[in-house]
Symmetry: C2
Subunit: 189 residues, 2 copies
């Protein structure tokens, strides 16, 4: 089996006031390690152009420090709360832009995809997602801040979905993939 370096994924849960950010290393056997979790904030009292610039600046600093190989952003939907959706969409645009400017590939995933990838259940609640993220990353407690756990879930979702797409059909799993599938089943009990 050829050795591949771990995939380092920056997951971003976009928001104008708080952008959840989580970075994980995911090995070829799909085991994952926490690298960073936090929040990039902007001042709710500042002008919109200054808030977006603050978010871009915070995300660039994170990328320059942790050098992810790919960026995954939660997809925003127009039909959600109209009062905040535009700010969220603008923040997601900033997240994608910063990836593009750093030459990093970016992808978006829907909340349902993220929940399904992490908990096996597309309608999982916030606490279930947090608990699974803690379990997957072997953390002693729930990741904090709580809303940044979503960013870790997005990063894990991206690594696993990308891996799954590249993997052979289930009948021809490698030993490592089979071990992972078993571990996932156990973790979901």
């Amino acid at each position: 089996m050829t050795r591949r370096p771990p995939l380092r994924v920056l997951g971003i849960d976009p928001g104008l006031t708080r952008c959840g950010v989580g970075i994980v290393d995911v090995a070829p056997d799909r085991s994952a390690t926490l690298v960073y979790v936090g929040v990039v904030r902007s001042d709710a009292g500042a002008r919109i152009e200054e808030r977006l610039a603050a978010i871009a600046s915070g995300l660039r600093a994170l990328i320059d420090e942790h050098r992810p190989t790919v960026v995954a952003v939660e997809r925003v939907f127009a039909q959600h709360n109209r009062q905040t959706v535009m700010g969220t969409a603008q923040a997601s645009g900033i997240a994608l832009l910063v990836a593009g400017e750093r030459g990093l590939p970016a992808a978006t995933h829907t909340p349902t995809e993220v929940k399904a990838a992490v908990t096996g259940y597309g309608s999982a609640d916030k606490l279930q997602v947090q608990a699974m993220v803690a379990r997957i990353l072997r953390l002693d407690e729930l990741p904090k801040p709580a809303d940044a756990a979503d960013a870790l879930a997005i990063a894990l979702c991206h690594a696993w979905r990308g891996g799954a797409a590249a993997a052979p059909a289930s009948g021809t799993l490698t030993p490592a993939q089979r071990a992972w599938a078993d571990a996932e089943r156990l973790a979901r009990r």
Copy 2:
């Protein structure tokens, strides 16, 4: 009367495939002059993060060349066409970000505000807006490309609304303001 330099406004009609851009100089007597009109494009076949980076790069180049004093962006609404609204919202976020990073104040105006400011009629059609923009800027023909005329209208809207907000109530118009109001009435006939 004190002499003030003209206000140079960069108007942006945000879009992922085409961002209309228009720059006008607006004098204290509210007369306006065309500085630049055009479109910043992104390749519809490119990845979203590359497209947003291309838009940011095009807008930065424009700002650096023409040095506007303020940026005005058309406001995007969530209830519009859901298939394109997210791309439009992300492009508008990029436009606001670029302003913020250049230290320029930015503002957003609704399509209705823009139409009302330029034609006196919030439900004016595209051709009416183009015709009024050509008239206001003393152009021999309609501004081209046609969809960039909206960006000029946004710039004019911003300059005039800002001016109107700072102006005294209509009973106490300065001679220049009265002359402008007369000219506007004539132009609308």
